[in-house]
Symmetry: C2
Subunit: 135 residues, 2 copies
Amino acid sequence: MTHDFELDPRLAADTVAVADWPLSRLLLMNDARFPWLVLVPRRAGLSELHGLSAEDRPVLFAEVLKAGAGLKAATGAAKINTGALGNLVPQLHIHVVARNPGDTAWPGPVWGQGAAKPYGAAALEALLNTLRAAL
Amino acid sequence: MTHDFELDPRLAADTVAVADWPLSRLLLMNDARFPWLVLVPRRAGLSELHGLSAEDRPVLFAEVLKAGAGLKAATGAAKINTGALGNLVPQLHIHVVARNPGDTAWPGPVWGQGAAKPYGAAALEALLNTLRAAL
């Protein structure tokens, strides 16, 4: 199934690629308001977490935890928020977001809150370098 | 550590107990707007998913997937939303929410959206019976 995988065009438009992990494509949301990763298992036709195969389940969970721990270490965030929603983009994707008291959505969720604020080119490159080193 | 576990009083106030699973206490949010489960691993002092022990990680993920699949089957929901936020209540807890186009928060997230609408006693008992049978 992996060879049938294509990243949803809305996810592609909102993100930049960080890495391909064994199961997931690791993306960074181009939104400077929050350091925000998205993991997309490279499997075609998945929309619910419970649709994962028995083999893929522990791999995805390990990747989600690795992303969260690494993002927290790299950013010094107070809290990691993790979510799989998919009400707008059905392709299974897991958000891993660094949160801090005083960020523009705190203490609410980031989803559906205002418009993304794209990174400048230098800030984006610096953050990608930091994340690739930390993850 | 399990014997030190105490459910956060805010979670206790907002929910009713459904079951104790091997790792998690399974709760139902008393909010008739959305069929909404919350899983709380019975471990003291946890706040991040990546703080789980290696032994507990696959158990929690299996319980989250079981809750999502069971809730979807029991309610016929269009989509399951899964999230671990913890910006207000630091005790690690995972939300598993049944979502449908036209629900009061669709397509946004349920967190931080308006006030809970408690179930009537008969509706609550019926839903608990349905969930206990499905899960």
